[in-house]
């Protein structure tokens, strides 16, 4: 495993296989928490934080707990428990030791347990059989891709608030159509050969 491979892995996780626009993981927060750019950025940062740590934690749980006992089929249960516990733990840790970061990310943290991006990155890491370093880099860069998507989209939505769509399209539908156009823009990355 050399540096170039890691870099390629990260590039592909951020842009080519963007979690939102090519894999559809994490669409709920993407559509739900993207009304203002700064809340979107906060959510993105919280997800990045949790996904990086959970990538490492679930990798360790899988490798040293599930595989030795032949319990691979319990991975979904185990991972979701690890993620829920981790989110709770991170929340307590931040509140105790880094109050500034806690007040910035606090309200988003409980939402992350049910963010499918986190669980799916853990499952993908197992599926692709990544090493520990790859797992951490993958978790981090996939979350970075999520942050990029949600922040860009929040910027678009802030502009869209001034638009006057037909009545039936107001609210959610026009948001989805904008997301579709943004997905078209992102799909140009899928032509990139790595």
């Amino acid at each position: 495993m050399n540096f170039t491979d890691i870099l390629l892995l990260m590039f592909s996780a951020v842009l080519v296989e963007n979690f939102i626009f090519s894999r559809f993981y994490g669409c709920c927060p993407f559509l739900g928490v993207s009304e203002k750019p700064d809340t979107a950025l906060g959510m993105g940062m919280a997800v990045t934080f949790v996904m990086t740590v959970s990538g490492a934690a679930t990798w360790a749980v899988y490798r040293y707990l599930l595989v030795p006992f032949g319990l691979e089929y319990l991975q979904t249960v185990a991972f979701i428990l690890v993620i829920a516990a981790l989110v709770q733990f991170i929340e307590m840790f931040l509140r105790r030791f880094i109050p500034a970061l806690y007040s910035a990310l606090g309200i988003y943290l409980p939402l992350i347990t049910t963010n499918c991006a986190v669980l799916s990155s853990a499952l993908l890491i197992v599926q692709e059989d990544y090493s520990f370093l790859e797992a951490v880099c993958f978790g981090f860069s996939a979350a970075l891709g999520f942050t990029l998507a949600i922040t860009v989209f929040a910027g678009l939505r802030a502009r869209m608030a001034y638009a006057d769509p037909p009545r039936a399209f107001k609210g959610f539908p026009i948001t989805l159509i904008a997301a579709g156009l943004l997905a078209m823009a992102f799909s140009c990355f899928s032509g990139v050969q790595l």
Binding site: F24, C28, T76, I80, R167, F169, T175, I177
Partner: protein, 268 residues
């Protein structure tokens, strides 16, 4: 019995989890590239939803409030694992097509939302029925999307070629952008129909003949179906709405209102 029929109607039409409540977007967008996948995903989620609703309803007196979300997630993930293993054993091609989205049923917001909002407060039988109704509503929405995307994207339905050979396949509808666009247009159509029924209800409330909404409920083709959605929705939510126009709802309630509304609708 009536109550269960009403529950079913609510889940599939008025309170459709995907098209009206806008929950569970990831599987909706990702697994609807064909009608077959969409139906499979819907059925898998329905099975999990019924089982988890029943189980959570049975345990509702034993789960402490503070850790209830964690408890729900564990219960749901147990059932999801069971469904995943069953699908791997008996429906392998579907299992491969859906990929990671089967384990991701765990974090589907619909399931947690129903556990929290319904199963944790109601007896077993209504909870099971609620799971069935919401699951069918989810399947219904997925099937609409799956049909549209498969028809436009590959010119076929359930793998059978429907459109003539000369039809240029619009592959974009099978790709991620098409998923967002299709869902956007479908939800816009639903909002349009709801707006129309709202208007109809208001007009009926104005003339004081609101009761006739219910018997109209019998239709097979999608358009008629959708009209039923709105008609029954009007009947159910009509009680408070009855007084609202008189008290001056946001929309003006002058006689010209209906004409104006009509015009606006036509414009859109």
């Amino acid at each position: 019995m009536n109550r269960y029929i009403k529950q079913l109607k609510e889940g599939i039409l008025d309170q459709n989890p995907t098209l009206v409540q806008l929950l569970g977007m990831c599987p909706t967008l990702a697994t609807t590239t064909s009608l077959e996948n969409a139906f499979g995903m819907g059925m898998a989620a329905t099975a999990v939803l019924i089982c988890s609703n029943v189980f959570i309803s049975l345990l509702r007196k034993f789960i402490p409030r503070q850790v209830r979300i964690a408890a729900y997630i564990v219960i749901v993930s147990g059932f999801v694992t069971a469904v995943e293993l069953l699908m791997r054993a008996y429906l392998y091609s579907l299992y491969q097509a859906l990929g990671l989205f089967i384990p991701l049923i765990v974090v589907n917001c619909i399931i947690l939302a129903r556990a929290e909002a319904f199963a944790s407060k109601n007896k077993v039988l209504p909870s099971a029925m609620d799971g069935l109704a919401m699951g069918l509503g989810f399947t219904f929405a997925l099937c609409i999307l799956g049909t549209v995307r498969e028809l436009l994207g590959s010119g076929s339905v359930l793998g059978f070629r429907v459109l003539p050979e000369a039809y240029p396949e619009m592959v974009v509808f099978l790709l991620p952008p098409g998923a967002f666009l299709t869902l956007g247009f479908v939800i816009a159509a639903v909002q349009k129909l709801r707006g129309m029924s709202e208007e109809r209800r208001r007009r009926r409330a104005g003339s004081g003949a609101r009761q006739s909404a219910e018997p109209a409920a019998a239709g097979t083709e999608p358009a008629a179906d959708a009209a039923v959605i709105s008609a029954s929705g009007a009947a159910i939510s009509g009680v408070p709405g009855d007084a609202a126009p008189a008290a001056g709802s946001p929309d003006a309630d002058t006689p010209e209102r209906q004409a104006a509304d009509r015009k606006e609708d036509n414009k859109t």
